[in-house]
């Protein structure tokens, strides 16, 4: 339910902020929500990326015709990730398996940490893109890849030292 609520929030923002292709945005959002709900209900994890794609497509359609970079895209991106993670958790969850409270707390903390770091990276990315719009999307994408790679290397080193 939480996954659906998070995705619904992101979709609501997409539709509310949509321009002339608002109906297309709404359709993408509804399809995304339906796919996610179906995937959770049927315990079918392959629907999750399609739900994210549909919702992301709806957001992209809503941005059609707007030149300014949307700062809320950072939040929408993290919301899509959270929805995907929560839906995966829901599908994986087996009531017969007793989960220790410490493991549950750590999993929640991991998810929260991931969302926080992703939010930070996104704000940095969008801030950079807004300041140097002339640098282009290619440079932004390369920057994201480099930032993500750096985070991965740091985590790997931290893991091997522990």
């Amino acid at each position: 339910m939480l996954a659906l609520a998070v995705l619904a929030g992101a979709d609501a923002y997409s539709v509310a902020s949509a321009g002339r292709l608002a109906p297309v945005s709404a359709v993408g959002s509804v399809v995304g929500l339906a796919l996610l709900a179906g995937g959770i209900a049927l315990r079918w994890p392959t629907t999750i990326p399609w739900a994210v794609l549909a919702s992301g497509g709806g957001y992209l359609a809503g941005r059609e015709g707007r030149a300014l970079v949307d700062g809320w895209a950072a939040v929408v991106g993290v919301a899509l990730l959270l929805a995907s993670e929560l839906a995966t958790w829901s599908i994986e969850h087996d009531a017969r398996i007793r989960t220790e409270p410490a493991l549950l707390a750590r999993r929640i903390a991991t998810l929260a940490g991931l969302a926080g770091v992703a939010m930070l990276v996104n704000f940095l990315l969008l801030g950079t893109a807004a300041v140097s719009a002339s640098a282009g999307v290619l440079l932004a994408a390369v920057g994201v890849a480099a930032a993500v790679g750096a985070v991965a290397v740091v985590l790997r080193l931290a893991r091997s030292s522990s």
Binding site: I48, P49, L80, L103, L125, A129, A145, V151
Partner: protein
């Protein structure tokens, strides 16, 4: 450990690739922002994923238990590398139930941590139960990679059938040569008075019956019945069984056989076992507690195995069926091969008693129609079969689940007493 990627790995990689390409095509930085969290999760997950180094073992506090006993089991987990998410499932065989503890369980292990998970198991049914394997499934913190393995240790819990208390058991008609608790019908050295006879050279003085000698004017001596042991062969029919829920005719037969073996071994009788079914097992008669354990251990391995092979009594080794032995058969009388073997035993002169472990309570009578007629014919045929065995001189008693074994044995005793009188 077997490693495989979860579906999430492929989907996040695909989403990242599609998102970044679309961002380039449409020249929208927002799409990079939508994609970056997935890329970050992917990179972080793979960076944190290290193959778990984990030792798993299963230990049993006791390897032998009685039906209904509780046994403590410990699953020991020793991790030499951190395991962020670990699912553990100890597979329990049929006949063993979880009484206390949670199975399966999800937990986390730090590097160098050793955990002992304790379960209390209920030995619900007799048999040799192999526990496990204990399956473990480890995941990286974000669940992109999964490692699975099964614990190599699989301890065996041998659950012995719970025995009834018998006050009186069936007495064989013939005794053997070793001393025991059964008063022989023959005359010899013993305590029980049998008769008096004229003195003969070699008779000890202490056996002279002075009162009879004084009355008759010549020496008369007392004769007595010696106390001898007997040979008892327990014949378990494992060709077929009737089962309902957790109980079957074979369960009842095994418990009764175990009870009888215990009772006869206590009387210093020699006890042997024949498990006549798809798999033929036998145990040559023997005495003592060791023999009792042999019998019960052999019973634990008894099971119904489907077989179309026609077996006759000839395939049983001769030493397993000594002359003058009492054969007590526990059979649901469902398979013609076992019925044929029992009639064959009787034809060869063995002292035979059959406890018919009735399959009737395990089957519900249909409400009506042809099925009900067929059911009634089946029960009538069973009556006819018992009658046929009785006409052959075999003591047959039908045993239903709710009746105590002692009552059934008393019925057999009564039949044998009556049959003996009729023969005289």
């Amino acid at each position: 450990m077997t490693r495989y990627a979860s579906p999430k790995l492929a989907s996040y990689a695909g989403l990242s690739a599609v998102g970044l390409l679309t961002a380039l095509v449409f020249a929208r930085p927002e799409l990079v922002a939508l994609t970056a969290p997935f890329l970050l999760a992917l990179a972080a997950g793979l960076a944190l994923a290290t193959p778990p180094r984990l030792e798993v073992s299963v230990e049993l506090d006791e390897e032998r238990a009685l039906e209904g006993d509780e046994v403590r089991t410990t699953v020991v987990l020793a991790a030499s590398s951190p395991v962020d998410r670990l699912d553990l499932y100890l597979r329990l065989p049929q006949g063993v139930e979880l009484a206390e503890g949670r199975n399966p369980v999800a937990l986390r292990l730090a590097a160098g941590e050793r955990r002992e998970l304790e379960f209390t198991l209920l030995a619900a049914r007799w048999g040799g139960h192999v526990l496990g394997p204990a399956y473990v499934r480890a995941r990286d913190p974000l669940g992109f990679l999964v490692w699975e393995r099964a614990a190599p240790t699989r301890p065996e819990l041998r659950t012995y059938p719970r025995e009834d208390v018998l006050r009186r058991i069936l007495q064989p008609r013939e005794t053997q040569v070793f001393s025991g608790n059964e008063v022989s019908r023959h005359k010899g050295e013993g305590i029980e008075f049998a008769d008096i006879r004229l003195w003969a050279a070699g008779d000890p003085l202490k056996r002279v019956n002075w009162r009879a000698s004084a009355r008759r004017g010549e020496l008369w001596v007392n004769e007595s019945h010696p106390e001898r042991n007997t040979d008892v062969i327990l014949f378990v029919d494992s060709f077929a069984e009737a089962r309902r829920g957790g109980t079957s005719t074979l369960d009842l037969a095994i418990r009764a056989t175990s009870t009888l073996a215990d009772a006869y071994v206590r009387r210093r009788d020699r006890v042997g076992l024949i498990s006549f079914g798809g798999i033929l097992r036998w145990l040559v008669p023997g005495m003592g507690v060791v023999q009792l354990y042999r019998v019960v251990d052999a019973l634990l391995d008894t099971q119904v195995v489907l077989s179309y092979y026609w077996k006759e009594i000839d395939i049983i080794p001769r030493r397993t069926l000594p002359p003058n032995a009492l054969v007590i058969a526990l059979s649901p009388l469902l398979d013609p091969r076992s019925v044929g073997a029992l009639l064959d035993l009787r034809a060869r002169g063995y002292d035979l008693a059959v406890i018919d472990v009735s399959p009737v309570p395990f089957t519900a009578r249909p409400a009506g129609g042809l099925d009900a007629v067929a059911y009634d014919i089946w029960t009538l045929r069973r009556d006819a079969l018992r009658h046929r065995l009785q006409r052959a001189g075999v003591a047959v008693v039908e045993w239903r689940d709710d009746e105590p074994l002692q009552a059934i044995l008393e019925e057999v005793r009564a039949f044998r007493r009556y049959a003996r009188h009729a023969r005289v």
